[in-house]
């Protein structure tokens, strides 16, 4: 098991957001979190990354326990986060955004390089010297993904990566994720677009009130689609 989240609780102050949530991701697998707003999808990701440390339960990554570690220690194990709202470094140039935090700590055989990122996102190559704050939303999203890839993660975590983007740009992002998937990268993704998620991912988890209330494969999701769509309100 690559990532194993075992019945974690997490809270913001007094407001508990996760109630014994469990989740597994095998190596090379793409797994989704789906559900309404405020049900705990982002909190789950924050808990995994150590940004909102869980109060109970355990999280293991590649067999080692990671809950309780500091966010930068967790990231160093090989988790790459593409956060909600992108959050690129607006005062750095495109190239600096990619290079600043680049690393190959997990000693991947074919590490990500600037050239490979620019190959994946040609639009970033055109704007490499530009200040990242001047990019469009879609370009910023590509940059956020590129920045995460440059840390050579074993597991890529995407939180609402296509939210608020124009349909064409959205399709670019999905195509890119499919390409990454084909290269064997493990992915945990939060999104709303069920069609694309079913195409991309192996398994899906419906999150409701801080728990996983349904999980299954893409075929199972397709079979129960109507019922699940009602639950998650898409």
């Amino acid at each position: 098991m690559m990532l194993s989240v075992q019945s974690i609780d997490a809270a913001y102050g007094d407001a508990q957001a996760l109630f014994g949530l469990s989740l597994d991701i095998k190596a090379g697998e793409a797994v989704t979190l789906i559900g309404r707003n405020g049900m705990g999808k982002t909190t789950t990701i924050r808990a995994i990354m150590g940004l909102t440390p869980p109060r109970a339960g355990a999280i293991h990554f590649e067999g080692q326990r990671i809950d309780g570690l500091k966010p930068h220690e967790i990231a160093r194990r090989g988790l790459g986060l593409v956060p909600e709202g992108r959050q690129i470094f607006v005062h750095l140039s495109v190239e600096e955004n990619l290079v600043a935090t680049a690393a190959n700590r997990t000693k991947g055989a074919t590490p990500w390089t600037l050239a490979r990122i620019f190959n994946l996102f040609p639009r970033l190559a055109e704007r490499r010297a530009q200040s990242a704050g001047t990019l469009s939303g879609g370009e910023q999203q590509m940059l956020a993904i590129g920045r995460a890839l440059m840390t050579n993660p074993r597991l890529l975590i995407l939180d609402e990566a296509t939210e608020g983007l124009a349909p064409l740009i959205r399709q670019d992002i999905w195509n890119c994720l499919a390409a990454l998937r084909a290269q064997g990268l493990s992915i945990l993704i939060v999104d709303r677009n069920l069609d694309e998620l079913m195409r991309l991912a192996d398994r899906h988890n419906v999150v409701e009130k801080g728990r996983v209330v349904w999980s299954g494969t893409s075929q199972e999701l397709a079979a129960e689609r109507e019922r699940i769509e009602q639950r998650i309100g898409v």
């Binding site: 990354m49 500091k70 930068h72 956060p83 600043a100 840390t151």
Partner: protein
């Protein structure tokens, strides 16, 4: 466009600084050179502070402490040598190539200790804790009657530079300008390096750096120590220029002055703090010759710059290009 406004402004500033010793006979001789030397020395301290404020978003309100410590190292080493009293088994020294690096070392160690503690806080707390440490050092030197306490400590002569006496104002100006050029070069290399990117990235989003596997604390501490060492060098030069040190060199008024220079000149720019230091000292000198209450005029001047040039004087000079 072969020359941006930025490049032209930079070249003009460099030309002015290099022209000073040649133009000085037309503008009051040694007095002009001494004033220009003050500008250059203070510019070293101000630009080192910009490494923290501009690049790292770390508003240190105690930068004068490292400046003053550097100055005191020079004065104390010279004091012991002149009075033939060894300090900790060391006879003291008057050699610039010994005491200036020593000044940087001691300022750097102070910055390491203070930085290690204060960088655990952020925002307003960081401002207050850096100020508190600086004031602590200030009061230590006020209380050190042995080294003159409140009255300060005079140096018998300038340091020797590689055994040579620095007698004329011009040579000392060139040495100071060389030090400024070296500090600016190092800062430029730092800012564009991955270290600089990480520092700037942490300034815009600390948590994001962490989520990408970077602990910002170490980067900030290194920047804090480098800035402290550069301020220490500026202090050592300043002690030589005035042949006098006093606790006022490390007080909060001086720290505030450095901050005004950085902000007035333009944050996050290599030359902004240099322009800020020049403007501050020249305006101060001009106004002080005119009225004793020069601050009454200087205050509104700073206010106007802050209101109408939010990116400082450098921001006005370079225009809107390459934002």
């Amino acid at each position: 466009m072969p020359f941006s406004r930025q490049t032209i402004a930079g070249l003009l500033i460099a030309a002015c600084l290099i022209a000073v010793p040649y133009a000085a006979p037309l503008m009051g001789g040694n007095y002009a050179i001494t004033l220009a030397t003050r500008v250059v020395i203070v510019a070293i301290a101000a630009s080192s502070l910009d490494l923290l404020i501009g690049r790292g978003a770390l508003v240190s309100f105690g930068h004068a402490a490292y400046f003053g410590l550097g100055a005191y190292v020079v004065a104390i080493a010279s004091f012991h040598l002149a009075n033939d009293i060894p300090i900790l088994g060391w006879a003291g020294s008057n050699e610039a190539l010994v005491v200036w690096p020593l000044a940087m070392l001691i300022s750097g160690v102070a910055a390491l200790i203070i930085g290690a503690l204060s960088l655990r806080t952020s925002g307003v707390y960081f401002i207050m804790i850096t100020l508190a440490f600086a004031q602590m050092i200030y009061f230590v030197f006020v209380a050190l009657k042995y080294y003159g306490g409140d009255d300060g400590l005079a140096l018998n002569s300038r340091n020797l530079f590689a055994g040579e006496r620095i007698t004329d104002a011009r040579s000392f100006y060139w040495i100071s300008l060389g030090a400024l050029a070296l500090c600016l070069f190092i800062q430029w290399r730092l800012v564009v390096s991955r270290f600089g990117m990480a520092l700037r990235g942490a300034a815009s989003n600390e948590r994001r750096m962490a989520a990408l596997g970077f602990s910002v604390y170490g980067y900030r501490l290194v920047a804090f120590v480098i800035a402290g060492m550069m301020a220490g060098l500026a202090g050592a030069l300043s002690a030589n220029l005035n042949r006098f040190v006093s606790p006022d060199m490390m007080g909060w008024v001086r720290s505030g002055g450095f901050m005004v220079m950085v902000i007035m000149g333009g944050v996050s720019s290599l030359l902004g703090p240099v322009i800020g230091a020049a403007t501050y000292l020249l305006v101060e000198t001009a106004l002080a010759g005119w009225t004793e209450h020069w601050e009454v005029v200087f205050g509104p001047f700073v206010l106007l710059v802050a209101l109408f040039a939010p990116r400082g004087i450098w921001g006005l000079l370079r225009g809107r290009a390459c934002e």
